[in-house]
């Protein structure tokens, strides 16, 4: 969560996933627009989903930017100890 992370994302959870709470999402398009790897895409309703999970580097851009706190780090995060 610092500038360098922004530029050169550390891959902390290479196998991780993000979760989108669809109920909270307002389809603003921010997460998709600012995902640096193109891992996210909008479905036909405009709700984002992890279209290319392998591309996701867990950089945090999407969950940090989401105005509706509709994205969190995936289930792995909850059980994994951070460094």
């Amino acid at each position: 969560m610092n500038k360098t992370a922004e530029k050169k994302p550390k891959i902390r959870h290479p196998e991780g996933k993000i979760i989108v709470f669809e109920k909270w999402c307002k389809r603003c398009g921010i997460c998709v627009a600012f995902c640096p790897t193109g891992a996210l895409a909008n479905d036909e309703r405009g709700v984002p989903y992890l279209a290319a999970p392998e591309k996701c580097v867990l950089c945090g851009q999407c969950w940090l930017r989401c105005p509706d706190l509709a994205i969190i780090e995936g289930p792995k995060v909850e059980i994994k100890e951070e460094e």
């Binding site: 500038k3 398009g29 940090l64």
Partner: protein, 279 residues
Amino acid sequence: MGPKSPVYEYLRYKKKFPTVWCPGCGIGTVMGAIIRAVMSLGYEKNDVVMVSGIGCSSRMPVYVDFNTLHTTHGRAIAFATGIKLVKPHLKVIVVTGDGDGLAIGGNHFIHAARRNIDLTHILINNSIYGMTGGQYSPTTPVGAFAYTAPYGNIEPDFDVVKLGIAAGASFVARTTVYHVVQMGKIIEKALKHKGYSLVDVISQCPVLYGRLNKMKSPVEMLRWQKEHTVDVRVTAKRSPEELKGKYIVGIFKDEPDMPEYVTEYQKLIDSLKEGATKR
């Protein structure tokens, strides 16, 4: 609670979500940053107070699982002053809009800054009155449109940072919703700072400000923020023309040693206890 607990443990997520804010409104992003800062500092939820005024931004307290107080328009800082004086151990975060914190609330802002009382003031600056539907505010740029400036605004805007510094605040910073990582770090510093800390967060109101000023999408507005900011550390290298119409971001003042009001008051109390003879 602490740095490792998930964000939603700090939210009243079960009942109060989704939020009232419009799609793509920057306020929610600021809320996320505040919560993550509180998390990473490991504050107890019971020890955190969030006070707000009235406005879209001031709806934030509903969503966070702290001691939350949604007051009257413009007066949040004065309410917060009472809380902080009575319970100095509480971390008191004040969230205001630009209208709330600078128009009707301008006086409480400059006086709390003058006293250098230990409050963290997050000013969510979207250059418009969001809640009442898009009137100009003290931070609307000259020439911008608003429903009470249908021919373009003719009132110069405040430089919030300069005003905060002149009034006496000991920590003064500016950031934008676009700079979400920087915002997080600055808010963390502001929370840790003992004294009045002001963070001017440039935010987007796509629905009113954006629509009236030909920037329709939130993404577009975030890009605009990116393009219209200069870091304070490089301003010296920029010409005045390059700086024109730009927001300068970064930390402008950080003086942890300035006397803080509640501490000074406690010293007074202690001195009266010792020298019981005085008056």
